[in-house]
């Protein structure tokens, strides 16, 4: 319970930290938050075990922290540090970390599930008792790739759990206005798999549903779709002031905050004292202070690192068409010059 709470709080505090850093111009590019949805990510991430893989959408920081991801990695990533998991080459949570069983998304929605299928397929082929879990917005569920991924996972009976996060919004558009689906669990009918609905803001309910679905997958019984009912409490990204959201709707969901709800529950039923929770929050703040200082002291990658890592073999890395020094032009471009060094060092 304590660690669940810690994860929930860490998720929120880390995102708030990022928001502060964003406002101070320390974050490079955009920032996407999961305010109000932390319970879904944390509950699912917590239900996974060693060796399993998770593929988060951009709003599932909590699942990554539950996998044991160091908050510093998140700060490094958002500030494009040289030592970040993507070495400054990609943003947000677009990292893949095999040791922690994390498959990063890419921006085109729906694609990630298809790739996670391949991970699950490798488990099936190798008869390993490992399973996969991924998240998907209701908006993303309208993409062709999402459909193909779900259909393939179902057809090949892959050990996978798909968490459909019905958070009412996709970017600046209310989902009901661009999707005729009434019951999101009905989506499962197109794939012939079971679906279960949960209150996505109740971390224990989420955890239970995820654990059960994962057990099912682990037993070789295939995919489950979990529909998590939740709400996106902020705009799509940091730059989006969310002016289009009815104040009343927001207010109603604020009453159902997943972290405050869990706090109340823990205290009310005597699982934890208010002061223990307070201590956890303080600990987290201290940890994040330290992490922030550490990461901000790190630097961006050296410019010519841009040239490295496109290919896995020296042969391709060295051929001139990856912008090598063209014979006769050695004197010309700084980049051509850099290239020679970079490929030798970088691969």
């Amino acid at each position: 319970m304590r660690s669940l709470y810690r994860l929930l709080w860490l998720t929120r505090a880390l995102e708030e930290r990022l928001e502060t850093m964003f406002k101070q111009g320390q974050v490079v590019g955009g920032l996407y938050r999961s305010l109000g949805q932390e319970a879904t990510a944390v509950g699912c991430g917590y239900a996974l075990t060693e060796g399993d893989w998770v593929a988060p959408s951009i709003r599932d920081l909590g699942a990554l922290l539950a996998r044991g991801l160091d908050p510093r990695e998140v700060l490094r990533q958002y500030t494009a540090r040289a030592g970040s998991l993507c070495r400054g080459k990609d943003n947000t949570n677009h990292f893949t970390v095999p040791e922690k069983g994390i498959l990063g998304p890419i921006s085109p929605l729906g694609t990630q599930l298809c790739v996670l299928n391949g991970v699950a397929l490798s488990f099936r082929t190798r008869r390993e008792p490992r399973v996969c879990l991924t998240f998907q917005g209701e908006g993303a569920s309208r993409t062709g790739t999402s459909h193909e991924g779900l259909a393939m996972a179902a057809a090949l009976e892959l050990p996978i759990v798909v968490v459909l996060q019905h958070n009412r919004w996709a970017f600046g558009t209310p989902s009901h206005s661009v999707a005729a689906v009434k019951q999101w669990s009905d989506v499962a009918g197109a794939y012939g798999v079971p679906a279960v609905g949960v209150d996505g803001n109740d971390v224990l309910q989420v955890y239970d549903a995820a654990a059960e679905a994962l057990a099912r997958a682990r037993a070789g019984d295939g995919m489950t779709i979990i529909v998590a009912e939740t709400y996106r409490m902020l705009g799509h990204a940091q730059h989006d002031g969310q002016k289009y959201v009815p104040e009343q709707e927001l207010r109603a969901w604020r009453e159902h905050d997943p972290i405050r709800g869990f706090e109340d529950y823990l205290v009310e039923f005597g699982f934890e004292s208010a002061s223990t929770l307070e201590e956890i929050r303080t600990e987290v703040a201290v940890e994040l202070d330290r992490a922030t200082d550490e990461v901000l002291a790190e630097s961006y990658p050296a410019a010519r690192e841009a040239l490295t890592g496109v290919y896995g073999d020296q042969a391709s890395a060295g051929v001139p068409w990856t912008r090598g020094p063209v014979p006769g032009y050695e004197d010309l471009a700084r980049r051509a010059r850099d290239f020679t060094t970079a490929t030798v060092e970088g691969s």
């Binding site: 590019g29 400054g88 080459k89 085109p108 908006g139 961006y300 010309l332 980049r335």
Partner: protein, 331 residues
């Protein structure tokens, strides 16, 4: 001198105006895309359009680029003039099949054309990482049946978009997001701004070297040319292609025949990029006039990286253009 608007119009504003004017004058023109109606579009290009034109003409769709382009094709078959927005041009990739196989080949196969526009923000420079920064023109360069446009100025953004909407064929209209709010111009008030597809434009005159370019690189090329003029006294002509399909080969060839030297600059990576086609055309049509090899300055052959240091390095820089131009001039 024609009267110009005392207020400056941004590149983005010019796109808004083009859409507005075409929608006002032709009620078969309509828009579809993600978050374009109630929200007004990710870049607010269509803000207020829903109120002015109503939900039949400004249509929010599910997140489904293939279906968006598909619906545009069908509507075009029926005589409507759809303008489909890709929220970022990177997301044209899921609609690739629909574009190259359905839209591009429709007229040839069946005699029924698909006059539609697919527009969206392309290009790097805004720290947006590999999936919100791409230049995608080469994906479509070899596809017969498509037209492809990429304006550098507000004037051209407006004029070409209007022409694209009126065009009987599928037009890919790439807007460089780095220019959206940075480019500002006084647009003429009393003349119609309409730029035909397929005509290049001399952005800067010169007689010693031809720089062929398009999109955001027009400005870097012009800056490089100015620097060379100032520091070396040589005059580079900067030709802004504006359209890639149809390509204004005649204008390129004419300029190269005058200058004898050709440098091609584009933001996409070099290998397999559009510069190859330009090179081939010039080799075929103006080889005898060349006094030096044809050179290109492009992005490096990698995805678009995210960190500022990396992205700046990725992009062709003014220095790179100056260096290549000097090399050619000294040849």
């Amino acid at each position: 001198m024609p009267e110009t608007d005392p207020m400056e119009t941004t590149y983005l504003g010019a796109i808004r105006e083009a859409l507005q004017e075409e929608m006002r004058s032709d009620d078969t023109v309509f828009l579809l895309g993600e978050d374009i109606a109630a929200y007004g579009g990710a870049f607010k290009v269509t803000e207020g359009f829903l109120e002015e034109f109503g939900p039949d003409r400004v249509i929010d769709t599910p997140i489904s680029e293939a279906a968006i382009v598909g619906a545009a094709i069908g509507a075009a078959h029926m005589g409507l003039k759809p303008v489909a927005e890709m929220q970022f041009i990177d997301f044209i990739a899921p609609a690739f099949d629909m574009i190259v196989n359905f839209a591009a080949k429709s007229r040839y196969r069946t005699g029924i054309g698909a006059g539609l526009v697919i527009r969206g923000p392309c290009g790097a420079g805004s720290r947006s990482g590999p999936f919100h920064s791409q230049s995608v023109e080469s994906y479509f360069a070899n596809v017969a049946g498509l037209k492809m446009v990429i304006p550098a100025r507000a004037y051209d953004a407006k004029g070409l978009l209007r022409a694209a909407i009126r065009d009987p064929d599928p037009v890919l209209f790439f807007e460089h997001k780095f220019l959206y709010r940075r480019v500002k111009e006084h647009l003429p008030k009393d003349e119609e701004v309409l730029v035909p597809l397929g005509e290049a434009r001399v952005h800067r005159e010169g007689s010693d070297l031809t720089i062929v370019t398009y999109g955001a690189m027009v400005y870097k090329s012009a800056d490089a040319a100015d620097r060379i003029a100032e520091e070396d006294g040589s005059e580079a002509e900067v030709l802004d292609l504006r359209s890639l399909r149809p390509l204004d080969t005649a204008a390129i060839v004419e300029s190269v025949k005058r200058t004898g030297r050709l440098l091609i600059v584009h933001e996409a990576p070099g290998f397999g990029g559009f510069a190859g086609e330009i090179t081939a055309q010039v080799c075929e049509q103006a080889f005898e006039w060349l006094d030096a090899p044809i050179r290109r300055v492009t992005a490096i052959d990698t995805p678009v990286p995210y960190a500022p240091t990396l992205e700046d390095y990725y992009l062709p820089g003014e220095d790179d253009i100056v260096a290549a131009a000097r090399w050619l001039l000294a040849y």
